[in-house]
Protein backbone atom coordinates (compact mmCIF):
# COMPACT_ATOMS: atom_id res chain seq x y z
CA UNK A 1 0.00 0.00 0.00
CA UNK A 2 1.44 3.32 -0.98
CA UNK A 3 -0.75 5.42 1.32
CA UNK A 4 1.41 7.77 3.34
CA UNK A 5 0.59 7.89 7.00
CA UNK A 6 0.35 11.24 8.74
CA UNK A 7 1.46 11.90 12.31
CA UNK A 8 -2.18 11.84 13.46
CA UNK A 9 -2.70 8.24 14.57
CA UNK A 10 -6.45 8.32 13.91
CA UNK A 11 -6.55 8.97 10.16
CA UNK A 12 -8.04 6.24 8.02
CA UNK A 13 -4.64 5.73 6.41
CA UNK A 14 -2.96 5.18 9.76
CA UNK A 15 -5.71 2.87 10.93
CA UNK A 16 -5.45 0.84 7.73
CA UNK A 17 -1.68 0.59 8.15
CA UNK A 18 -2.12 -0.45 11.78
CA UNK A 19 -4.52 -3.21 10.82
CA UNK A 20 -2.08 -4.50 8.21
CA UNK A 21 0.43 -4.77 11.06
CA UNK A 22 -2.07 -6.89 12.97
CA UNK A 23 -3.94 -4.36 15.13
CA UNK A 24 -7.57 -5.50 15.02
CA UNK A 25 -8.73 -2.51 17.08
CA UNK A 26 -7.80 -0.34 14.11
CA UNK A 27 -10.11 -2.39 11.90
CA UNK A 28 -12.90 -2.07 14.47
CA UNK A 29 -12.49 1.70 14.45
CA UNK A 30 -12.69 1.82 10.66
CA UNK A 31 -15.92 -0.17 10.75
CA UNK A 32 -17.32 2.10 13.43
CA UNK A 33 -16.52 5.18 11.34
CA UNK A 34 -17.88 4.04 8.03
CA UNK A 35 -20.48 1.30 8.57
CA UNK A 36 -23.47 3.66 8.79
CA UNK A 37 -22.50 5.53 5.63
CA UNK A 38 -21.95 2.27 3.75
CA UNK A 39 -25.33 1.05 4.96
CA UNK A 40 -27.03 4.24 3.77
CA UNK A 41 -25.29 3.96 0.42
CA UNK A 42 -26.40 0.36 -0.02
CA UNK A 43 -29.94 1.12 1.08
CA UNK A 44 -30.13 4.14 -1.20
CA UNK A 45 -28.81 2.07 -4.08
CA UNK A 46 -31.67 -0.38 -3.76
CA UNK A 47 -30.59 -3.00 -1.24
CA UNK A 48 -33.48 -4.34 0.83
CA UNK A 49 -33.48 -3.21 4.45
CA UNK A 50 -33.09 -6.80 5.63
CA UNK A 51 -30.04 -7.27 3.36
CA UNK A 52 -28.15 -4.13 4.33
CA UNK A 53 -26.49 -5.61 7.42
CA UNK A 54 -25.07 -8.60 5.53
CA UNK A 55 -23.98 -6.41 2.64
CA UNK A 56 -22.18 -4.00 4.97
CA UNK A 57 -20.37 -6.92 6.58
CA UNK A 58 -19.40 -8.32 3.18
CA UNK A 59 -18.18 -4.88 2.06
CA UNK A 60 -15.78 -4.60 4.99
CA UNK A 61 -14.69 -8.22 4.63
CA UNK A 62 -13.72 -7.61 1.01
CA UNK A 63 -12.07 -4.31 1.91
CA UNK A 64 -9.84 -5.75 4.65
CA UNK A 65 -8.89 -8.73 2.52
CA UNK A 66 -7.39 -6.45 -0.09
CA UNK A 67 -6.40 -3.38 1.85
CA UNK A 68 -3.34 -3.12 -0.38
CA UNK A 69 -5.77 -2.13 -3.15
CA UNK A 70 -6.55 1.18 -1.45
CA UNK A 71 -3.84 3.51 -2.73
CA UNK A 72 -5.11 6.56 -0.85
CA UNK A 73 -5.94 8.72 -3.87
CA UNK A 74 -9.64 8.53 -3.01
CA UNK A 75 -11.00 8.61 0.52
CA UNK A 76 -11.36 5.32 2.36
CA UNK A 77 -15.12 5.81 2.43
CA UNK A 78 -15.29 6.35 -1.32
CA UNK A 79 -13.28 3.19 -1.79
CA UNK A 80 -15.77 1.33 0.42
CA UNK A 81 -18.60 2.69 -1.72
CA UNK A 82 -16.89 1.33 -4.82
CA UNK A 83 -16.66 -2.09 -3.20
CA UNK A 84 -20.33 -1.84 -2.15
CA UNK A 85 -21.32 -0.92 -5.70
CA UNK A 86 -19.48 -3.97 -7.05
CA UNK A 87 -21.11 -6.11 -4.39
CA UNK A 88 -24.58 -4.91 -5.36
CA UNK A 89 -23.82 -5.59 -8.99
CA UNK A 90 -22.72 -9.14 -8.11
CA UNK A 91 -25.85 -9.66 -6.03
CA UNK A 92 -28.03 -8.37 -8.85
CA UNK A 93 -26.40 -10.76 -11.30
CA UNK A 94 -26.70 -13.63 -8.85
CA UNK A 95 -30.42 -13.02 -8.56
CA UNK A 96 -30.58 -12.88 -12.34
CA UNK A 97 -32.12 -9.46 -12.63
CA UNK A 98 -34.75 -9.86 -9.94
CA UNK A 99 -35.21 -6.52 -8.34
CA UNK A 100 -33.69 -6.35 -4.91
CA UNK A 101 -35.68 -3.33 -3.96
CA UNK A 102 -38.47 -4.15 -1.58
CA UNK A 103 -41.28 -1.70 -2.15
CA UNK A 104 -43.43 -3.34 0.51
CA UNK A 105 -41.18 -2.15 3.32
CA UNK A 106 -42.99 0.87 4.59
CA UNK A 107 -42.39 1.09 8.25
CA UNK A 108 -44.40 3.92 9.70
CA UNK A 109 -42.11 6.12 11.73
CA UNK A 110 -43.84 7.50 14.78
CA UNK A 111 -44.48 11.20 14.40
CA UNK A 112 -46.93 13.98 15.05
CA UNK A 113 -48.16 14.08 11.45
CA UNK A 114 -48.70 10.58 10.14
CA UNK A 115 -49.88 11.83 6.74
CA UNK A 116 -46.73 13.87 6.21
CA UNK A 117 -44.66 10.95 7.39
CA UNK A 118 -46.42 8.65 4.95
CA UNK A 119 -45.89 11.11 2.13
CA UNK A 120 -42.23 11.39 3.02
CA UNK A 121 -41.96 7.62 3.22
CA UNK A 122 -43.57 7.21 -0.18
CA UNK A 123 -41.26 9.83 -1.66
CA UNK A 124 -38.30 8.04 -0.18
CA UNK A 125 -39.44 4.75 -1.67
CA UNK A 126 -39.98 6.28 -5.09
CA UNK A 127 -36.57 7.86 -4.82
CA UNK A 128 -34.96 4.53 -3.97
CA UNK A 129 -36.78 2.89 -6.84
CA UNK A 130 -35.62 5.66 -9.16
CA UNK A 131 -32.03 5.38 -7.99
CA UNK A 132 -32.06 1.66 -8.65
CA UNK A 133 -32.97 2.30 -12.29
CA UNK A 134 -30.07 4.74 -12.90
CA UNK A 135 -26.90 3.57 -14.60
CA UNK A 136 -24.40 2.63 -11.93
CA UNK A 137 -22.02 5.54 -12.51
CA UNK A 138 -24.84 8.11 -12.40
CA UNK A 139 -26.22 6.58 -9.22
CA UNK A 140 -22.84 6.51 -7.47
CA UNK A 141 -21.94 10.03 -8.54
CA UNK A 142 -25.30 11.28 -7.30
CA UNK A 143 -25.07 9.51 -3.93
CA UNK A 144 -21.48 10.55 -3.32
CA UNK A 145 -22.47 14.13 -4.06
CA UNK A 146 -25.65 14.40 -2.04
CA UNK A 147 -24.96 11.96 0.83
CA UNK A 148 -21.24 12.53 1.31
CA UNK A 149 -20.94 16.04 -0.03
CA UNK A 150 -17.95 14.95 -2.13
CA UNK A 151 -16.89 17.50 -4.73
CA UNK A 152 -16.45 16.52 -8.35
CA UNK A 153 -12.67 16.19 -8.04
CA UNK A 154 -13.05 13.67 -5.22
CA UNK A 155 -15.81 11.81 -7.03
CA UNK A 156 -13.68 11.61 -10.17
CA UNK A 157 -10.80 10.03 -8.27
CA UNK A 158 -13.06 7.62 -6.40
CA UNK A 159 -14.92 6.40 -9.47
CA UNK A 160 -12.16 6.60 -12.06
CA UNK A 161 -13.67 9.35 -14.15
CA UNK A 162 -13.03 13.06 -14.72
CA UNK A 163 -14.52 15.97 -12.74
CA UNK A 164 -16.31 17.24 -15.84
CA UNK A 165 -17.84 13.85 -16.56
CA UNK A 166 -18.84 13.48 -12.92
CA UNK A 167 -20.67 16.79 -13.11
CA UNK A 168 -22.52 15.70 -16.24
CA UNK A 169 -23.47 12.39 -14.62
CA UNK A 170 -24.80 14.22 -11.59
CA UNK A 171 -27.05 16.53 -13.61
CA UNK A 172 -28.32 13.64 -15.72
CA UNK A 173 -29.16 11.75 -12.53
CA UNK A 174 -31.00 14.74 -11.09
CA UNK A 175 -33.01 15.22 -14.28
CA UNK A 176 -33.97 11.54 -14.42
CA UNK A 177 -34.91 11.36 -10.74
CA UNK A 178 -37.05 14.49 -10.96
CA UNK A 179 -39.10 12.78 -13.67
CA UNK A 180 -39.42 9.52 -11.70
CA UNK A 181 -40.21 10.99 -8.31
CA UNK A 182 -42.68 13.65 -9.56
Amino acid sequence: MTVRSSPDPLTDANLAAAYRQGDERAATELVRRHAAAVGRFLYSSGAGPSDVDDLVQETFFRAFRRLHGWRGEASFRSWLFTISGNLLRDEFRRHKGKRMLSLEDRDMPGGADPHADLAASETAERLRAGLATLPRLQREVFLLRVQEGSDYEQIAVALGTTPGAARVHYHHAVKRLKELVR
Partner: protein, 199 residues
Protein backbone atom coordinates in the same frame (compact mmCIF):
# COMPACT_ATOMS: atom_id res chain seq x y z
CA UNK B 1 -23.67 29.30 -16.04
CA UNK B 2 -27.32 30.04 -15.29
CA UNK B 3 -28.44 30.71 -11.75
CA UNK B 4 -30.39 27.40 -11.79
CA UNK B 5 -27.18 25.52 -12.62
CA UNK B 6 -25.32 27.47 -9.97
CA UNK B 7 -27.93 26.54 -7.35
CA UNK B 8 -27.96 22.93 -8.56
CA UNK B 9 -24.23 22.66 -7.97
CA UNK B 10 -24.56 24.02 -4.42
CA UNK B 11 -27.67 22.15 -3.33
CA UNK B 12 -25.88 19.11 -1.86
CA UNK B 13 -23.67 21.29 0.34
CA UNK B 14 -26.66 23.33 1.57
CA UNK B 15 -28.76 20.18 2.15
CA UNK B 16 -25.93 18.73 4.26
CA UNK B 17 -25.64 21.94 6.24
CA UNK B 18 -22.19 22.76 4.92
CA UNK B 19 -23.17 25.94 3.08
CA UNK B 20 -25.89 28.54 3.06
CA UNK B 21 -27.79 30.32 0.32
CA UNK B 22 -26.95 33.85 -0.56
CA UNK B 23 -29.75 36.39 -0.56
CA UNK B 24 -29.91 36.32 -4.34
CA UNK B 25 -30.08 32.53 -4.36
CA UNK B 26 -32.86 32.56 -1.79
CA UNK B 27 -34.87 34.98 -3.91
CA UNK B 28 -34.42 32.73 -6.93
CA UNK B 29 -35.49 29.66 -4.99
CA UNK B 30 -38.64 31.36 -3.88
CA UNK B 31 -39.49 32.07 -7.51
CA UNK B 32 -38.26 28.92 -9.31
CA UNK B 33 -40.46 25.79 -9.12
CA UNK B 34 -37.82 23.60 -10.78
CA UNK B 35 -35.12 24.58 -8.31
CA UNK B 36 -37.43 23.97 -5.36
CA UNK B 37 -38.34 20.52 -6.71
CA UNK B 38 -34.67 19.69 -7.14
CA UNK B 39 -33.82 20.89 -3.66
CA UNK B 40 -36.56 18.64 -2.27
CA UNK B 41 -35.15 15.70 -4.18
CA UNK B 42 -31.59 16.37 -3.01
CA UNK B 43 -32.70 16.79 0.61
CA UNK B 44 -34.68 13.53 0.47
CA UNK B 45 -31.72 11.69 -1.03
CA UNK B 46 -29.38 13.10 1.61
CA UNK B 47 -31.71 11.81 4.31
CA UNK B 48 -32.26 8.45 2.64
CA UNK B 49 -31.24 5.67 4.95
CA UNK B 50 -31.11 7.90 7.97
CA UNK B 51 -34.83 7.58 8.59
CA UNK B 52 -36.15 4.89 10.89
CA UNK B 53 -37.08 2.74 7.90
CA UNK B 54 -33.46 1.62 7.75
CA UNK B 55 -32.23 -0.41 10.71
CA UNK B 56 -29.15 1.10 12.33
CA UNK B 57 -25.95 -0.79 11.78
CA UNK B 58 -24.35 -2.33 14.88
CA UNK B 59 -20.76 -1.43 14.03
CA UNK B 60 -19.16 -3.37 16.88
CA UNK B 61 -21.01 -6.57 16.02
CA UNK B 62 -20.23 -6.10 12.32
CA UNK B 63 -16.53 -5.57 13.07
CA UNK B 64 -16.49 -8.71 15.23
CA UNK B 65 -18.03 -10.85 12.50
CA UNK B 66 -15.72 -9.43 9.82
CA UNK B 67 -12.59 -10.03 11.89
CA UNK B 68 -13.69 -13.56 12.73
CA UNK B 69 -14.18 -14.36 9.03
CA UNK B 70 -10.76 -12.93 8.22
CA UNK B 71 -9.09 -15.05 10.92
CA UNK B 72 -10.82 -18.19 9.68
CA UNK B 73 -9.79 -17.45 6.10
CA UNK B 74 -6.16 -16.84 7.09
CA UNK B 75 -6.07 -20.12 9.02
CA UNK B 76 -7.43 -21.95 5.97
CA UNK B 77 -4.83 -20.34 3.72
CA UNK B 78 -2.02 -21.35 6.08
CA UNK B 79 -3.30 -24.90 6.13
CA UNK B 80 -3.51 -24.99 2.32
CA UNK B 81 0.04 -23.62 2.03
CA UNK B 82 1.34 -26.35 4.36
CA UNK B 83 -0.38 -29.02 2.29
CA UNK B 84 1.02 -27.64 -0.96
CA UNK B 85 4.51 -27.30 0.53
CA UNK B 86 4.37 -30.91 1.67
CA UNK B 87 3.21 -32.05 -1.73
CA UNK B 88 5.97 -30.04 -3.38
CA UNK B 89 8.65 -31.56 -1.16
CA UNK B 90 7.33 -35.05 -1.80
CA UNK B 91 7.33 -34.42 -5.55
CA UNK B 92 10.87 -33.03 -5.46
CA UNK B 93 12.11 -35.98 -3.42
CA UNK B 94 10.48 -38.41 -5.83
CA UNK B 95 12.06 -36.63 -8.79
CA UNK B 96 15.53 -36.71 -7.25
CA UNK B 97 15.14 -40.39 -6.44
CA UNK B 98 14.03 -41.12 -9.99
CA UNK B 99 17.01 -39.28 -11.48
CA UNK B 100 19.60 -40.99 -9.31
CA UNK B 101 18.24 -44.47 -9.78
CA UNK B 102 17.40 -44.07 -13.46
CA UNK B 103 18.95 -46.50 -15.90
CA UNK B 104 19.48 -44.87 -19.28
CA UNK B 105 19.82 -47.39 -22.08
CA UNK B 106 23.51 -48.15 -22.87
CA UNK B 107 24.89 -45.53 -20.52
CA UNK B 108 25.95 -45.02 -16.98
CA UNK B 109 26.32 -41.94 -14.80
CA UNK B 110 28.31 -41.54 -11.65
CA UNK B 111 27.09 -40.75 -8.22
CA UNK B 112 28.89 -37.86 -6.55
CA UNK B 113 31.65 -38.99 -4.24
CA UNK B 114 32.36 -42.14 -6.18
CA UNK B 115 35.67 -42.34 -8.01
CA UNK B 116 35.49 -41.61 -11.72
CA UNK B 117 34.01 -44.41 -13.68
CA UNK B 118 33.21 -43.58 -17.25
CA UNK B 119 31.93 -46.24 -19.54
CA UNK B 120 31.85 -45.48 -23.19
CA UNK B 121 29.84 -47.74 -25.39
CA UNK B 122 29.34 -48.03 -29.07
CA UNK B 123 25.94 -48.47 -30.61
CA UNK B 124 24.94 -52.04 -31.15
CA UNK B 125 25.91 -51.84 -34.83
CA UNK B 126 29.62 -51.46 -34.15
CA UNK B 127 32.14 -52.79 -36.62
CA UNK B 128 33.14 -56.39 -36.30
CA UNK B 129 36.10 -56.92 -34.07
CA UNK B 130 35.65 -53.65 -32.27
CA UNK B 131 34.49 -54.35 -28.82
CA UNK B 132 32.88 -51.58 -26.76
CA UNK B 133 35.54 -49.40 -25.12
CA UNK B 134 35.21 -49.27 -21.41
CA UNK B 135 37.24 -47.32 -18.92
CA UNK B 136 36.81 -47.95 -15.28
CA UNK B 137 38.67 -47.06 -12.16
CA UNK B 138 39.74 -49.79 -9.78
CA UNK B 139 36.87 -48.84 -7.48
CA UNK B 140 34.17 -51.31 -7.07
CA UNK B 141 30.73 -51.22 -5.77
CA UNK B 142 29.86 -47.71 -6.94
CA UNK B 143 26.67 -47.67 -8.91
CA UNK B 144 26.98 -46.11 -12.28
CA UNK B 145 24.98 -45.62 -15.40
CA UNK B 146 26.02 -45.92 -19.03
CA UNK B 147 25.60 -43.15 -21.57
CA UNK B 148 26.38 -43.21 -25.28
CA UNK B 149 28.93 -40.85 -26.87
CA UNK B 150 28.16 -40.98 -30.61
CA UNK B 151 30.95 -38.46 -31.37
CA UNK B 152 33.50 -41.19 -30.65
CA UNK B 153 31.92 -43.65 -33.04
CA UNK B 154 34.01 -42.49 -35.96
CA UNK B 155 37.33 -42.98 -34.15
CA UNK B 156 39.41 -46.08 -34.67
CA UNK B 157 40.24 -48.20 -31.67
CA UNK B 158 43.79 -46.78 -31.52
CA UNK B 159 42.57 -43.20 -31.76
CA UNK B 160 39.98 -43.85 -29.09
CA UNK B 161 42.66 -45.35 -26.86
CA UNK B 162 44.84 -42.25 -27.17
CA UNK B 163 41.86 -39.99 -26.34
CA UNK B 164 41.06 -42.02 -23.31
CA UNK B 165 44.71 -41.99 -22.16
CA UNK B 166 44.62 -38.17 -22.22
CA UNK B 167 41.40 -38.19 -20.23
CA UNK B 168 43.05 -40.45 -17.70
CA UNK B 169 45.87 -38.00 -16.96
CA UNK B 170 45.29 -35.48 -14.19
CA UNK B 171 45.21 -31.96 -15.60
CA UNK B 172 48.12 -30.83 -13.43
CA UNK B 173 50.47 -33.32 -15.12
CA UNK B 174 49.18 -32.74 -18.63
CA UNK B 175 51.80 -31.06 -20.75
CA UNK B 176 50.61 -27.58 -21.39
CA UNK B 177 51.44 -26.20 -24.74
CA UNK B 178 53.73 -23.34 -24.06
CA UNK B 179 52.81 -20.16 -25.87
CA UNK B 180 55.88 -18.95 -27.71
CA UNK B 181 57.00 -15.43 -27.07
CA UNK B 182 55.24 -13.45 -29.75
CA UNK B 183 56.51 -10.09 -28.55
CA UNK B 184 58.78 -9.77 -31.58
CA UNK B 185 58.31 -12.91 -33.58
CA UNK B 186 60.07 -13.24 -36.77
CA UNK B 187 58.54 -15.20 -39.62
CA UNK B 188 60.47 -18.32 -38.69
CA UNK B 189 59.42 -18.06 -35.06
CA UNK B 190 55.77 -17.83 -36.06
CA UNK B 191 56.21 -20.74 -38.44
CA UNK B 192 57.64 -22.85 -35.65
CA UNK B 193 54.87 -21.78 -33.27
CA UNK B 194 52.08 -22.76 -35.66
CA UNK B 195 53.80 -26.00 -36.60
CA UNK B 196 54.17 -26.89 -32.94
CA UNK B 197 50.49 -26.26 -32.34
CA UNK B 198 49.49 -28.42 -35.22
CA UNK B 199 51.68 -31.25 -34.00
Amino acid sequence: MTICTQLSDRMPDVALGRARWTAEEQRHLAACVDCRAELGLVAAAAALGQATTAAPIDAAATAGRVLHRLRVERARQRSRRRIWAGAGLATAAAAILAVWTARVANGRIELPGAPPSVVVTRPSTHAAGQAPIRLASPSTGASSADFPLPELDSLSADALDSVLRVLDEPLARAGAWKMPDLADPGDQELERAFTGKEG
